[in-house]
Symmetry: C2
């Protein structure tokens, strides 16, 4: 019906100046109790709420941060998003969620594009980004990266110790007598993305155990989805000699692999072991249930939001920070747990 009330309407209703209303809203200390009361009543009476655009225009901040992840239907990212949104909420911030598809162009858009304008900073989980892309300091948009960062010292950064996590998972398999361990989604090339780091950790474990490295056991995938895991597992079972364990670099790959192994009549963990990463909810309910590396997602979210808000408050302060978050190997049925 009536147009939305402005601060001026409240001021007239309360019989004070617009600025006094603003002072009440922003908890300015030198406002008399009586005035404060009167203004509050006027606000309630008119149902006034601040107009964000006006405030942002004046103050230059939106109270929103961007979270950019590759894909929401990868459960790890939707679970992470949930935690980030909860944490941001606690800190009085709103999250604008962005899906990049893992495409470089769209990861860049999260940093520089249209949407970035809405927000005060970006938490980005990159897949394709190039080190040179991180020359973000130009506009001064604060950025926190999740997972391994593309280059040294370009932005703040939060991740688990991927090398160690992969080493521990591999040691677990070696400890069960497995010797031909395939890495689904791994790579020996490329930049130091998460995939590369985990493959490195795997190699460390092999080396320490004196098991020779066979590059044929490192199989890349198109994406980190069920079907890619299923396809990779099927292909691996056709090789000779066959692997006796699959170290899958996320749980979707692992669950897809479980399905493919089931279809081929292989028994997990009798014939083969399977391990995943991320500990998504499904990992506890598959048949067999899945052994997986569980990162502390809540802590990742907490640290990322805290780091970003610090940067937003004090843009140029202090050295770049690496926050290493804890993880834990959850042993379940797929490795005899």
């Amino acid at each position: 019906m009536a147009a939305r009330p402005r601060i001026k309407d409240v001021a007239e209703y309360a019989g004070v100046s617009p600025k006094t209303v603003s002072n009440v809203i922003n908890d300015y200390e030198h406002v008399s109790d009586r005035t404060r009361e009167v203004v509050r009543e006027a606000i309630d009476a008119l149902g006034y709420r601040v107009n964000i655009a006006g405030r942002q225009l004046r103050q230059g901040r939106t109270g929103m941060i961007t979270l950019a992840v590759p894909e929401l239907d990868v459960a790890y990212f939707s679970e992470l998003a949930k935690h980030v949104m909860a944490e941001a909420d606690r800190r009085g911030q709103t999250v604008l969620l962005h899906q990049t598809g893992g495409v470089r162009e769209r990861e860049l858009a999260a940093l520089h594009g249209f949407d970035a304008q809405f927000t005060d900073g970006v938490i980005l989980s990159p897949l394709a980004l190039h080190p040179s892309d991180l020359a973000t300091r130009d506009r001064g948009l604060p950025v926190v990266l999740l997972g391994e960062r593309p280059a040294e010292g370009s932005t703040d950064h939060v991740a688990i110790d991927n090398v160690r996590a992969a080493r521990e998972a591999t040691e677990h398999l070696l400890g069960r007598g497995r010797r031909r361990i395939a890495v689904v989604g791994g790579t020996v090339r490329g930049r130091q993305g998460t995939d590369r780091l985990r493959t490195d950790g795997y190699r460390e474990a092999l080396e320490e155990a004196g098991v020779p490295f066979d590059s044929g056991l490192v199989v890349p995938v198109d994406a980190y989805h069920w079907k890619d895991g299923a396809r990779a597992a099927a292909a691996l079972m056709d090789t000779d000699p066959r692997p006796d364990a699959l170290l899958c670099l996320n749980d979707h790959l692992a669950l897809g692999a479980l399905r493919a192994l089931y279809e081929r009549g292989e028994s997990v963990p009798k014939d083969l072991d399977v391990v995943g990463f991320d500990d998504i909810e499904a990992a506890g309910f598959s048949v067999p249930s899945l052994t997986t590396v569980a990162p502390d997602k809540k802590e990742i979210a907490r640290a990322a939001v805290a780091l970003l808000l610090d940067r937003i408050e004090e843009p140029a302060t202090g050295p770049l920070l690496d926050h290493v978050v804890g993880h834990e190997l959850k042993v379940r049925e797929s490795t005899g747990g």
Copy 2:
């Protein structure tokens, strides 16, 4: 380094007035080709991009819409969110994602709260909302509801035909000779929420087949998660006589049930059939794979965005619309497929 350029800077650089720059940006027709060119070059040279706050303040629109869902880590909602975001993107809109937790208070916040200010309209998937809460017409914020709506004719609305979908799924089970079919997550009370409608469809099918209805077979759940399905299935297997099929009102419940049945040594589909709703990606990869009702998520997203944008363009126009979207029963191993 340098502060972000404003339209005024571009104007000076190009030697024209700010308004002319604005005209170029907004594709106003009466701008000479030469001026347009010059301005474009100035924009590129300075790296100018419009400030959304300024634009919104002037125009009253943000170009953002809110999508409010109960929980992102319910795969149906993250898959749906992905489609909605893609569709919105295609239409030049940005999506602000909101998680309500299915709590009435937070569903209301999506409609009236702080975040609603950022956006031009809301697509809401309600769980707890009361009919009276939908008196949204006051502020005129356009709203589209997903799933069953709480009341007649309060807003536009997009959903599959839940009654029919449940009836078809039940008929499928009856056709396989099942007679004691439990409804996990169902209810015979309450408003016409999705759970109630699906339970109604189930009863229709029973009636038509002459199978007596047993209210003991309709078991409510706390939430639609794996663990709730597992718990419900376990409890049902302790009843006497036992059910010979589980109609689970979403896939998470069904997958949790599969796990619980596995743990008790029950064989699906030999001893029992299991059916889910939503056709999330995991349904195709579980052991056994899951028969489920697949709603056309892409079409839901397309229709919801289209409906909402129409309302934003023409707030008070036309009657309220119900858009019914197609669905399909995907028969997989859990019912012998």
